[in-house]
């Protein structure tokens, strides 16, 4: 009877795992961003928010925002609103194409980096 319970518990655990709908990745990759990756916005965004595929360690993350002339935008400190998100406040931006370069460390200490652009065009 005890063996039967053990087998049932193992099967239930495995079934729960297999039936979990969302799949995840063992390194933190960018899932989505605001402003959206490659988008054009017509109002200066007050912040850039990056959402990753898994929890990250905020002390070991870096976000750099560059304008079209590779000048660094003086953004605020990195905020960590949720386990998978980073947010940096932005000053009022002049119209330009901006590149967001991010480096993050997931909770298993693996690092990933990437970049994307968005454009702020005057309305």
């Amino acid at each position: 009877m005890q063996r039967h319970h053990t087998v049932c518990a193992a099967a239930a655990l495995l079934a729960a795992a297999v039936l979990t709908p969302a799949r995840s990745w063992a390194h933190a990759f960018l899932d989505h961003a605001t402003p959206r990756v490659g988008s054009t916005v017509h109002e200066s965004p007050d912040a850039v928010t990056l959402a990753f595929t898994e929890p990250i360690e905020p002390d070991f993350c870096r976000v750099e925002i560059l304008d079209a002339h590779d000048h660094r935008v003086d953004s605020g400190p990195i905020e960590h609103p949720t386990a998978t998100e980073l947010r940096v406040a932005l000053p009022a931006l002049p119209p330009s194409e901006y590149t967001v370069h991010w480096t993050v460390t997931s909770v298993d200490t693996h690092q990933t980096e990437g970049r994307f652009t968005f454009t702020f065009a005057a309305p």
Partner: protein, 272 residues
């Protein structure tokens, strides 16, 4: 750095399998031989050194993020999930070696200690359920491969009984390893194409190929060698030992590839 992380991960896995497998063998199969005891002691020592080196390597990898000195870096690492679990693994290792070898308490401590490892790695970053599945996978691999190593290092007088107990452990381990392994592939590789088009997928394929070869050898042992020994045959004993040695070497290769998978980046999802 990938090479260093892979080598350290391999040493960590080897030590874990030898120590945890030795405990499983002592509890469920037979008392350890003198060589077997020495192997588990060396494994505990190897793990202690490897844990320290892993902290060192992680500090070097993360040093670029902290500008205000080594102590600040150390405190920040210790505040991470990885750092807390690293500390738990160190304390757990000390507890495992402090209790009587092969006792029920030690089996429970080893199980909890393996759980900390599963939560510290890739699977733990995914969440609690993947970490629990990884723990089942790791526990089964330790019980199976660690027991086979102990068998190689011993010459038990009651061979038929020992082989029968080993067969039970191997059967149960395969029953856990196969579904847990399939789950890990499903979790880590988004599409079938990624299995051949990414370094992660190709290493995973190599690992599966070696694991399947070990399964075939184990099946031969299960259906041919063990029944023959049960019938009193002595001619198959040499063949059985040779097969087990090959399985242990294959197991070490699988652990190497597992360590490499732990260092490689998985196929990335689409960003929007």
């Amino acid at each position: 750095m990938t090479t260093v992380v892979t080598i350290l991960g391999w040493l960590d896995l080897l030590g874990t399998v030898v120590l945890a497998g030795g405990v499983a063998y002592a509890r469920f199969v037979a008392p350890l031989s003198r060589s077997g005891r020495r192997a588990t002691s060396l494994a505990a020592l190897l793990l202690a050194v490897t844990l320290f080196l892993e902290l060192l390597a992680t500090s070097v990898r993360l040093s670029g993020f902290v500008q205000d000195g080594a102590w600040s870096l150390f405190s920040k690492i210790m505040a991470t999930q990885w750092g807390r679990l690293w500390l738990l693994r160190c304390v757990g290792l000390a507890a495992v070696v402090a209790v009587p070898f092969g006792s029920r308490v030690q089996v429970i401590l080893v199980a909890l200690w393996l759980l900390a490892r599963s939560f510290q790695g890739h699977a733990g970053a995914h969440g609690a359920v993947p970490a629990a599945i990884d723990w089942l996978h790791l526990s089964a691999a330790c019980a199976w491969m660690g027991s086979l190593l102990q068998f190689v290092l011993s010459r038990p007088p009651n061979l038929a009984a020992v082989v029968e107990r080993l067969r039970r452990i191997a059967t149960l381990s395969v029953a856990v390893l196969l579904p847990a392994g399939i789950f890990a592939v499903w979790l880590h590789v988004p599409t079938v194409t990624d299995l051949v088009s990414t370094p992660y997928g190709r290493v995973l394929l190599a690992k599966i190929a070696i694991a399947l070869s070990i399964f075939i050898l184990a099946a031969r042992k299960h259906f041919v060698h063990v029944p023959a020994i049960d019938r009193g045959s002595t001619t198959t004993i040499g063949s059985l030992h040779a097969s087990v040695r090959v399985e242990v070497i294959g197991g070490a290769l699988v652990l190497l590839l597992s360590a490499l998978l732990g260092a490689l980046s998985m196929p990335a999802p689409t960003v929007h």
